[in-house]
């Protein structure tokens, strides 16, 4: 291969075992598995499970300036066309069964990206009764893209990480599983709906406090241990 050829290196050459050059024709030798890997990781069609703010940033990433099409990623509106689900935004208890259903409708092989701190851990809605504390509580997640919301550059980097992960997994290399970034917050003070530690008494107490505008009043009256107090003001910075 002379220098003129090396100026533009076609991505196909990355997977090619060897190129035989005959007059007028180039013949590439490779394995079927490498072709499959190459095509799979460079045509990741995404299903935007966009519920809130991160969905707007996903729109920005897929439009003019950042242009997700460059890495072969096209947003599609139906899960049946897609390889990757990007969960962009807060997932609530009411929405989670729908997300799971859409995830189950996607054909294998499939991957998931949790975009933004709400999808990763629930962020500051973590303690709220109606919010799921991270989507990995009910579905698998391959790549976490932190941020509130992440920049489009961050999302692009997440997709590149996913591409790298696909390549290494198909090549049989060891891939260290992504760990969920530590949320840096305390555990929820009240067990959520669906948590085995939650008792019907808490349901009654919450309902009662809503009805009588008396936060924690029913708990106090029932002689149960009180809810933790509001934390004192902290020094900022």
């Amino acid at each position: 291969m002379n220098e003129q050829d090396q100026a533009f290196r076609h991505p196909l050459y990355d997977m090619v075992e060897g190129v035989a050059r005959f007059p007028g024709v180039d013949v590439a030798f490779t394995t079927a598995d490498k072709v499959l890997t190459w095509s799979q990781r460079n045509s990741l069609w995404v299903f935007p499970m966009a519920t809130s703010c991160c969905g707007i940033e996903f729109m920005a990433a897929s439009s003019s300036r950042f242009d997700l099409d460059r890495i072969g990623t096209i947003p599609r509106a139906t899960p049946r066309h897609c390889d990757v689900m990007i969960i962009a935004g807060t997932i609530t208890v009411k929405m989670a069964p729908r997300v799971k259903k859409l995830w189950d409708q996607m054909p294998e092989p499939k991957w998931a990206i949790a975009m933004g701190s709400c999808a990763i851990s629930g962020d500051f809605y973590r303690d709220i009764y109606s919010v799921v504390p991270g989507v990995d509580t009910f579905m698998p997640v391959d790549v976490y893209v932190p941020g509130c919301p992440p920049n489009p550059d961050g999302l692009l980097e997440g997709l590149r990480r996913l591409q790298d992960k696909i390549r290494r997994k198909r090549a049989g290399e060891w891939v260290e599983p992504d760990r969920r970034p530590p949320p840096g917050m305390r555990a929820p003070s009240i067990p959520r709906i669906g948590d085995p530690a939650r008792s019907p008494r808490i349901d009654d107490a919450q309902l009662d406090s809503v009805m009588h505008l008396d936060p924690g009043g029913a708990l106090r009256r029932s002689g149960a241990p009180p809810l933790p107090p509001v934390p004192p003001a902290e020094e900022e910075g």
Partner: protein, 401 residues
């Protein structure tokens, strides 16, 4: 506002009850649109009852993005609330911050200094342009898609929006969710030379709004799909509490920036664009005209930003430094891109001297706007529902909170 009171009597049938001659069990097909649908702008779910392709009844369901923001605010101090409410109307975060902090300032009796007022007004107007760009762009995408020429509007609008995000990123360090308002003023001052760059961007966008208008008006697909679709009755809209561009596209000349001035709007003459058609196309044209007007307001105000401090209070070191008296309550509202965005606050009652509110209620314009859907959808086809939802431009983070 300008309508005689005797017109406010309910003269239209309830779309939930009056189904005409249809038997809802036998004749109709029920179809769920959403909560995951690319054209419902988030997680809105509309249950449609169809006769063939014609919508007979439409019931919107909300709550798929209920994040308990109001409950969360009761646990946080007044200073901590600002970044939380950013996420409500996630297309125009500046407006949320201003609405909440205006309510706190009304309770505290603090008046922000003139420089902070000017900065707030300029930021709000630039944010209004960014919000309307998203609205017009996604609406075009809903109507035309990639084939009908709608993707062009989307890509052009998002291109200009990036310029605005760059301006805000320079001031606050964030693309959105700025957290730049605080009780009694602003957190970040304008960098040197920012006004020149902002003016250049505003001039550019203001010149290009004519292009978007031509994209919509010269496109036969767009005109056929939007003209005469979903005409909003002004009295019905006022009874439902709808405000903003939807109301102004129906001929009601009401804008809080002019009629109840706040911030620096008292210093400037505002031309409010009003149209009388009331259909989906008129709402889009009102938004485009508002973008031009916002660019003019922001450019004019940028000339006269006064010097001085940007906060009325001392820089807040402690979260709990801002306190209100027990039992006080107050309301403040601003004109967000979608209408009247208000905040109602009740100061702590039980915990004496607490630095967090007892109750905080957000009056969001989108919630009132989607209550128009049961009246607008019947009689139109299924494909028109996409146009209708796009034209009233709901933001579900603000609806469900």
């Amino acid at each position: 506002m300008r309508m005689p009171l005797d017109l406010l009597l309910p003269s239209w049938p309830d779309p939930h009850l009056d189904l005409g001659e249809y038997d809802p069990e036998a004749d109709l097909v029920a179809l769920n649109m959403g909560p995951q649908h690319p054209s419902t702008h988030g997680v809105l779910r509309v249950k449609l009852y169809l006769d063939g392709e014609t919508v007979v009844k439409a019931v919107p369901y909300v709550g798929y993005l209920h994040r308990g923001v109001e409950k969360l605010c009761e646990k946080l101090t007044y200073v901590q609330i600002t970044p939380i409410v950013d996420k409500n109307d996630y297309v125009s975060p500046m407006m949320n911050e201003w609405a909440v902090n205006a309510a706190f300032e009304a309770l505290l009796g603090v008046e922000p200094p003139p420089r902070a007022q000017y900065m707030r007004t300029i930021f709000a107007e630039i944010q209004r342009i960014a919000s309307h760009l998203i609205s017009i762009g996604t609406w075009g995408l809903d109507m035309g898609g990639a084939i009908g020429g709608g993707a062009t509007v989307f890509l052009y609008c998002l291109r200009e929006r990036e310029l605005i995000l760059d301006l805000f990123e320079e001031v606050t360090g964030c693309r959105f969710h700025y957290n730049t308002h605080t009780v009694g003023g602003m957190r970040h001052d304008l960098p040197a030379g920012w006004d020149k760059r902002a003016k250049a961007v505003l001039d550019r966008i203001s010149a290009r709004t004519w292009e978007y208008e031509r994209f919509l008006l010269d496109n036969p697909i767009c005109r056929q799909r939007a003209e005469g679709i979903a005409v909003v009755d002004p009295t019905l809209a006022m009874e439902l509490g709808v405000s903003g561009p939807i109301l102004r596209a129906s001929g009601v000349d009401y804008d809080m920036r002019r009629d109840a001035p706040y911030g620096a709007y008292g210093d400037i003459d505002i031309q409010v664009p009003v149209r009388t058609e009331g259909d989906a196309l008129a709402r889009a044209l009102v938004r485009i005209a508002e973008m031009r007007e916002s660019a003019r307001i922001a450019s004019t105000l940028l000339d006269g930003v006064p010097e001085g401090p940007i906060g009325a209070l001392k820089p807040v070191k402690l979260h709990g430094a801002v306190k209100l008296k027990d039992g006080e309550e107050g309301y403040a509202a601003i004109e967000s891109p979608r209408g009247e965005l208000g905040t109602y606050v009740v100061a702590a009652r039980e915990r004496r001297g607490a630095a967090s509110p007892y109750r905080l209620k957000i009056r969001s314009p989108s919630y009132h706007a989607i209550s128009l859907l049961p009246w607008l959808c019947p009689g139109h086809t299924l494909s028109d529902v996409v146009v209708i939802i796009g034209s009233i431009d709901p933001i579900m983070g603000e609806v469900d909170r």
